[in-house]
Amino acid sequence: MQKINWLSRYGAALLVGLLGGNVLQAQERSSLNMPVGVTDVSQKVFDLHMLILWICVVIAVVVFTAMIYCMVKFRKSQGAVPSGPSHSTLAEIIWTVIPVLILVSMAVPAARTLVEIEDTRDTEMTVKITGYQWKWHYEYLDEDVGFFSSLAADSNAARQLGSSIDPATVENYLLDVDNPLVVPTNTRIRYLITSNDVLHAWWMPDFAVKKDAIPGFINEGWFEVNEPGVYRGQCAELCGKDHGFMPIVVEALPPADYRAWLASQKGAI
């Protein structure tokens, strides 16, 4: 009974989620689809995702229709006798060439987006992100500001085995930290990422950023947030027992507020 409820609920939600994905606003996150996010890049990645998803859906409809047609039409119980051909060069050429063309139509926008993502020039400020088992360290290069960011205390209490605290009662369960990374909006920010121990990965879905933190090497990338807000993500590379408990929170402030925050941080040191 319960299950049927779910099915109907999510069946409808599924359609709305997929079909309406394009028009979803950034803040109301779908629980079905990728977030559109708050950067130009995340928007492009989202569009790319929807494009390839739809192409796959269309091909699936065509292919599955053909299969179902065969299953319905050519049944032995309906008296069908085998009469079809066992090869056709023309058909085989067609279904080799068409997929190639479809693939090209996906590869071109994908390559374009990729080139843009990998272009790390002209950034205005730099933060260095270091993964630790199991927390993040953020350092504002040239600003003399740096701090650790770990799982918020209430989540941490609730997540213990047999804590008997209902996670639903904890706000932003597992997605909250003590010290979020604070960044200015409308600023092209370069992030440098490395690790102090094992591999981690910094994943911020709203920015379409995921980059591995590798001890001894520094990876770089960039993002530019368009809208102020609080964004949440998680470590995305298995890093040991508390891999599930090292969230990422980014607070994007308008540049003026950001500068005020930065100044207060410097005072704090």
């Binding site: 990998e118 440098l192 001894g216 090497f217 520094i218």
Partner: protein, 287 residues
């Protein structure tokens, strides 16, 4: 119905595999315990002994069967193909270590030095480091060392192995021409050269450890150097033992000019070991 000459040979049950598996299990469990700091030398040796015993008895059985004419052409061909593809898998095994060497030299070290998209790796993490080869990494792991020059022992070893490749070919031709004397002499020469190679290699290792401070822990150079040469040396040892075995068999009058799978298998293996060495000489010692 008795076995017709050209019927397929289906062996009866065999107990060697289960013994071999047990041996491998004991050996690996023992070595694991030892690696974890436990005392399992005896267990490990027992396991290894069991594996060696099994191989000895299994091979003896096959040799007896072969010499008593149980096998036909098809079986012979199966053995050859099996050996060939086994050697191919060995080639792939060495390919990984060569791959690691190329990756470290062409990619990892330059990146650590700040090249490519790793500008900040160089400038922030390892500002002192300049990528060059040989290297034990930006942290000078294992301390300063000297690399192994190509034109001393290694060059001599190259000559030795290449010569052994020639001697085994001569032996092979002798076998085909039924010149058993020549066969025995040149086969003996081959494995003697093989053991000589191993001796010199040991010499080289001692030199590396004592004089050059070049050890397994000398960063990526030491790692790739000893892994590649070490696994190669292991294969030379196995090959030389196999050569010894077929030499003894030749002395006993085994093999005919037409059917001598074991000889050919060992010869292929030996050539394979030879070719790997050439790769080593060029990429590990020379370039």
């Amino acid at each position: 119905m008795a076995h017709a000459e050209n019927k397929y040979y289906i062996p009866h049950g065999t107990k060697w595999p289960i013994i071999g598996s047990t041996g491998l299990f004991i050996l690996f469990a023992g070595v694991s315990v030892w690696l974890n700091g436990g005392d399992a030398t005896l267990i490990s040796l027992a396991g290894a002994g069991l594996v060696i015993l099994m191989m000895f008895l299994w091979f003896s059985e096959v040799i007896d069967e072969s010499e008593s004419g149980t096998y036909n052409v098809q079986v012979d061909k199966s053995f050859r193909m099996g050996m060939f593809w086994f050697i191919f898998s060995e080639v792939m095994f060495f390919a990984v270590f060569f791959g690691a060497l190329f990756y470290a030299r062409q990619l990892a070290l330059p990146w650590l030095g700040g090249e490519g998209n790793n500008l900040f790796t160089g400038s922030l993490l390892w500002p002192e480091f300049e990528s060059e080869w040989p290297s034990n990494g930006p942290a000078n792991v294992g301390g300063d060392f000297e690399s192994m020059p190509a034109w001393g022992l290694p060059a001599l070893n190259t000559i030795i192995l290449l010569t052994s490749g020639v001697t085994i070919t001569i032996a092979h031709h002798a076998l085909k021409d039924s010149k058993r004397g020549v066969l025995a002499v040149f086969l003996a020469l081959t494995f003697l050269l093989g053991f000589l190679f191993i001796g010199l290699q040991a010499e080289e290792y001692i030199h590396a450890y004592q004089d050059l401070n070049l050890t397994l822990t000398s960063g990526i150079y030491g790692s790739t150097f000893f892994m590649l040469t070490g696994f190669h040396g292991m294969h030379v040892t196995i090959g030389a033992i196999m050569l010894l075995v077929i030499w003894l068999r030749c002395l006993r009058g085994h093999f005919t000019p037409k059917q001598h799978f074991a000889f050919e298998g060992v010869a292929w293996y030996w050539h394979f070991v030879d070719v790997v060495w050439l790769g080593l000489f060029i990429f590990v010692y020379w370039l």
